[in-house]
Symmetry: C2
Subunit: 195 residues, 2 copies
């Protein structure tokens, strides 16, 4: 029988917290449930995280890193910007369905923790910028290919609105129909539907 190492414990806590915070919400998940399910004792928990909110921030940072990495990895496997856009929507739809339509962890946190500390808001901001960056890259690739020129800044805004709207509408309705609709809107907007 051996004792868990330091990184083991931290990773187990983060993994468990990610699962529970996302599926049950932050407020509805107690420290005790987290340490029980992670098989870590309470004192060890407080050895790694000063407070529960500390854990929330670490969870958000981790979610951000992981989701951006996963998304970029998926996008790098297709070549044309048209396919990238489709892949982007496919990823969102998959995540939404797999999560039982629980939606975006960051938006959920924003709703759940109104008086969120600056640090929490900051991480949420990072995530939004990261997502936006990906949209801008796709738009700029389309633009380079088809010479959309000065429109491309507006198009990135368009795309952000449509992506966000499709995601939130689908989440509220509990099915991906609106996300698919948003995808076809996005393709129309970028002139990728007729090529």
């Amino acid at each position: 029988m051996s004792t868990a190492t330091k990184t083991d414990v931290r990773e187990k806590l983060l993994e468990t917290a990610a699962r529970l915070f996302y599926s049950q919400g932050y407020k509805d998940t107690g420290i005790n449930q987290i340490i029980d399910e992670a098989s870590v004792c309470k004192a060890s928990f407080y050895n790694h995280f000063k407070t529960k909110e500390d854990l929330l921030i670490a969870y958000l940072e981790r979610s951000h890193d992981q989701s951006m990495a996963a998304l970029r990895q998926r996008l790098s496997q297709v070549s044309s910007p048209r396919e990238q856009l489709r892949e982007l929507f496919r990823c969102q739809a998959e995540k939404l369905e797999k999560s039982g339509f629980r939606g975006c962890p960051f938006m959920n946190t924003l709703a759940e923790v109104p008086g969120a500390e600056d640090k929490v808001r900051q991480v949420i901001g990072w995530h939004m910028s990261g997502q936006r960056q990906i949209l801008e890259e796709i738009v700029s690739r389309v633009s380079r290919e088809r010479g959309l020129g000065a429109q491309s800044s507006r198009l990135a805004d368009d795309l952000e609105v449509v992506m966000t709207g499709g995601l939130m509408a689908a989440r509220a309705q509990g099915n991906v129909a609106m996300l698919r609709h948003a995808q076809s809107m996005a393709e129309r907007m970028l002139g990728l539907d007729e090529s």
Copy 2:
């Protein structure tokens, strides 16, 4: 000195709960704070509402009724569908700003109460349908005026995506820029930008 009447008490509780649930969130608002701020004793509270969740449902129903009535009232004061669309976006922007970008009470509740009871989900569904209905009415008025014909079902979906996206993006960013952008997208989509 006279005792508060039955409807007084209920109304005071609902008003206070609406304010606190919306600004602080459901979980972060305790019964004790509600009755303190409403100046109502606890037994009276439980005379009107069986549980805290009962109060949540009553709050959502009331929010739905009030917001739909207010919206319809505002929309009825302008004549052209073009102006109605503008008014719709203006209302959303005003509400968002006035609330300190706290967003939609229904989406927030959805995020905050993952294991929401059927009744809660039901009221949220009513609200979504109500909003959707208004969009459809505007689209159909535009369609009648300009003969968009068979496209109008798709246009209602488009409009829903854009409205939702603008609202959520603005909420996340903490300013109404994306909502204004969504408005111009909507006008373009319905051909109302050049007339």
